[in-house]
Amino acid sequence: MNKYDAIVIGAGHNGLVAAAYLAKAKKKVLVLEKRSIVGGSVVTEEFGEGFQADAVWTGGTLRHDIIKHLNLALPAPLGKPPFISLLSDSDQLVLDADPLKAAESIKRFSARDAERWSEFVAFMDRAAAFLDLVYATLMPRLPKRFSLDEGFGLAEMALELRLMGRKDMFNIIRLLPMTAVEFLEEWFESEQLKAALASVAIHGVTLGVLSAGTGYSLLHNWLNRGGPAHINVGKAGEITKALANAVNSYGGEILLNAEVQKIAIQDLRAMGVVLTNEQEFNAPVILSAVDPKRTFISLVGPIELPPEFVWHTQSIKMRGSVAKVHLLTNGDHGIPEGTVVLAPSIRYLEQAYDAAKYGEVSEKPYLEITTSGKVVSIHIQFAPYALKHGTWDMERETLEKLVLNTMHPYFPNLKSSITGLKSITPLDLEQTYSLTEGDLNHGQLMLDQFLFMRPIPGWSNHKTPIDGLCLCGSGVHGGGGVSGAAGRNVMKVLN
């Protein structure tokens, strides 16, 4: 009865994408989800009467080919609201999706920058398209052990890069290891514009805008959003709901309230899983959409793995420093529609990061604010998972106050409009959303955790030292963000 072709651990977007593809290929699939709802961190949750919010991820869309392959009934995006950088209580930089309108706003700070804006957006879009191709390519183990098929993927990638032309090719190669500020300085002179864009680079990443490698995270986030601002996709949870429907309609099963305790292993082969309620399910293929640290250290157990592999796994940098505060208001919050950021200067952002280096919450945090009707969602950085003093249970209230006080000068009506509040600390991200150390991307977006080094060097092709166990979550190459590439790419190694 409990026998399946494949078991997927975790009903987040990547797990559901993988399960839907398997079910579509007529495999008997079971998805096991710890929580009572599907979605993982791409979820719209009820926090009280009339208080629905995208708990973790705001915006972001699945790859178009996934939507097409799986026939997902997803509504078209509701538009591209602007990216707004708050500079003072009366001044803003507004980057509209229309480059001409954006240039108008930039002009107030620098005429030269306004002129370069369209060219910049075009370059970033081309570079992001290349990164998208990279993420869609299965990343083999280097240097020698890869199949013809994998080699073809790599060659295609290299050719694509070369075909972009010399200038783009070198600019993309240079962009990745640069600091976001260095990169932006090559384009722009206005501090306000550079800071606003640099904030995109550190979103979800525990690095400062002056840390090397934030050029890469800037490009990654640009790709994930389709520009500096989030696309308005309505409710993020609709994505995972549609995926769950697809799984079911193709004949797959999703079991909620089913927390996997361990993966059963015999002679280095995955045999099945055991739930916390001791229920057992067997399948020759186990796909873990859970982050690699949790998969290997908790679900597999170090005893089953080569010591060096365990050491590498323990060294994966998770170190989340994101917290969220969701507010239900009476509607008079005064916050404009769009992606609103508090990132007035490079120094402001860098100082916010300084605190995180030493295990402290930023006194003046970087905020990203989005609204959905009466609900206001705030993404806060930096709130490091590992606090030097105190615990997150003790610091919750301080965090909530910090956010409201920081926002007060810009939106004086906000405080009095609040009727409900839900905060999510890095510890909540770990405990409720199973994001180890609160890392939204299942592993920091850093160059030493990129390409064939994600999640750990030599294991980027979804396979693991345990036969039959594959990774398909954000922690493996293709992952990070809402694209679903990791959940789809795993199909290529399953045949």
Binding site: L142, P143, R145, K357, M446, M453
Partner: protein
């Protein structure tokens, strides 16, 4: 041709310029080196700033100098003598110390005192790093191919590079890829738990960059410094007899013996261009010298934005040179002493002063030093690398006296309000008061003190931005991207104009590789 025609004119008599001259002269070419100052050496000079006290003013240790250069130019015959710098001593904030001694077993015992776990890891770490440095070393003598080019030369280069990559063990390749992209803090935290050990090792990852140890990219700089540490036991970090000027002196003597002409007080104002080719140089005094080729051993900014009018280069090239990062981040404090400072953590032990003393008690300490600098201030408590040249070479100081060389980071070139006397004093004071905390007799022992800011490095040694590597060793500024894409093979868009200094592959340190490789490329083009 006029009578003063040369085969090659070399701008700048730093160690790279001199190496290039020696190699060209060795091939029978008529070469002249033009040095702006009254002495050769560039940033590798020894000068008597206080009577009787000899300072290696800027660069102060050797280890990266390519062994083939030493051999082929017979530098020992010309007076090069490298004296080992056997140990590193790190005083700690709690009054204890960490000593990394010459003897490996002694070092392990010492680390064991702080952490048995680290003592165990140390051996493996040293082995892995040595192996990696060895694996990366062949790249140092490779002319970087242009991956966008289809010319036979570049394709052969790419093929060689591919062959090199395939030749690496899988594990080595991963480790190299990780090292290239990681932060030195992350690298070291994977291995060790002792703060002083991590701090001291992390320090070599920040030298010459304007990044903190927690920023990705610094592990590569750490590896760059490791490459000198392994080439045979006697080629550990060392100190040249006679100071860094001793290195330049030996190369200059070799070049002269091979027939190269060296002119000092000959400051180049511009490169002469005729028919789209570099044909010589004009000096500041109005003299003109003519030659078949000109090789610049100055930094990229002066080489391409100073000596040559921009109209001779494509706009894109000029822009990318303008974007080349040369942020100076370090200074130097050279001190003449009446007595040796005694470190309270281990007094009366002269082994301490015979090696390096590193003020790097923890990674956080260095990171905080960086925090000051990135907002335009001198670090209140900087990272300091101290050596006592007179303990290794007694000729560096008068009898009874000593000299002390303090490399200090961070001192940002772009300091808030600009560098002036008060800021210079502040830098000197930061160094003295920091060291004084560990060696209280320092202040009263000072006979004279020379404080060198990044601005001074620019003014005296002629390095734009005061960056000791002529440009930071960042991932987007190394190998085929150094100094700029498509022009990493020591040639430039201007025919007859070559570039071979620290701003070219393989980068900074008293290495000489860029000068040698550039000279060889010139000779290839003449074949």
């Amino acid at each position: 041709m006029t009578s003063n025609a040369y085969d090659a004119i070399i701008i700048g008599g730093g160690h790279n310029g001199l190496v290039a001259a020696a190699y060209l002269a060795r091939a029978g070419k008529k070469v002249v080196v033009l040095e702006r100052r009254h002495l050769v050496g560039g940033a590798a000079v020894t000068e008597e700033i206080f009577p009787g006290y000899q300072f290696s003013e800027f660069s102060y240790v050797v280890s990266l100098l390519r062994p083939e250069i030493i051999r082929e130019l017979e530098l020992p015959r010309h007076g090069l003598k490298i004296l080992p710098l056997p140990s590193t001593f790190t005083p700690m904030e709690n009054g204890d110390y960490l000593g990394l001694w010459e003897d490996h077993d002694l070092t392990r015992q010492e680390i064991y005192r702080h952490s048995p776990k680290d003592a165990e890891a140390y051996h493996e770490y040293a082995r892995v790093m040595a192996r990696l440095a060895k694996a990366v070393k062949p790249l140092l003598s490779l002319v970087p191919p242009d991956p966008s080019s289809l010319s036979p030369r570049d394709l052969i280069g790419l093929f060689k590079l591919g062959k090199y990559g395939v030749g690496l063990k899988e594990k080595e390749l991963y480790l190299i890829a990780k090292l290239m992209t990681q932060s030195s803090a992350d690298l070291l935290e994977e291995w060790f738990e002792t703060d002083a050990l991590k701090g001291t090792k992390a320090a070599s990852g920040i030298i010459g960059t304007f990044l903190g140890p927690r920023s990705p990219g610094t592990a590569y700089v750490l590896l760059h410094h490791y490459m000198g540490e392994i080439d045979g036991a006697f080629r550990a970090w060392g100190f040249a007899k006679g100071g860094s000027g001793g290195v330049s002196g030996a190369i200059a003597s070799a070049a002269s013996a091979l027939g190269a002409e060296i002119r000092v007080n000959a400051s180049v104002s511009q490169v002469l261009v005729k028919g789209g080719r570099a044909v010589g140089v004009a000096l500041e005094n109005g003299d003109e010298l003519h030659s078949k080729v000109v090789l610049s051993a100055a930094d990229p900014k002066r080489s391409f934005l100073g000596f040559v009018e921009p109209k001779y280069f494509p706009d894109e090239f000029v822009t990318s040179i303008q974007n080349f990062r040369v942020r100076g981040s370090s200074g130097k404090v050279n001190i003449a002493l009446s007595e040796l400072p005694q470190f309270t953590a281990l007094p009366d032990e002269t082994a301490v002063q015979r090696g390096a003393v590193s003020i790097s008690p923890s990674i956080d300490y260095i990171e905080r030093a960086y925090d000051d600098a990135k907002y335009g201030k001198v670090s209140k408590h900087p990272y300091i690398d101290i050596i006592f040249p007179s303990m290794i070479d007694p000729d560096m100081a008068p009898p009874g006296g000593h000299v002390m060389s303090c490399f200090v980071q961070y001192a940002p070139y772009d300091i808030e309000g600009g560098w002036d006397e008060a800021k210079r004093d502040q830098l000197g004071e930061a160094v003295i008061s920091t060291i004084e905390g560990y060696a209280p007799n320092l202040r009263r022992a000072i006979v004279g003190m020379q404080v060198i800011t990044p601005k001074d490095i620019e003014n005296i040694a002629g390095i734009t931005g005061g960056n000791i590597f002529h440009g930071e060793l960042l991932l987007h500024q190394i190998f085929f991207l150094r100094p700029t894409p498509q022009w990493a093979d020591f040639r430039t868009p201007l025919k007859g104009y070559y570039f071979g200094a620290s701003g070219a592959h393989p980068g900074g340190g008293v290495m000489g590789a860029a000068g040698m490789l550039a000279a060889k490329e010139i000779l290839k083009d003449w074949r």
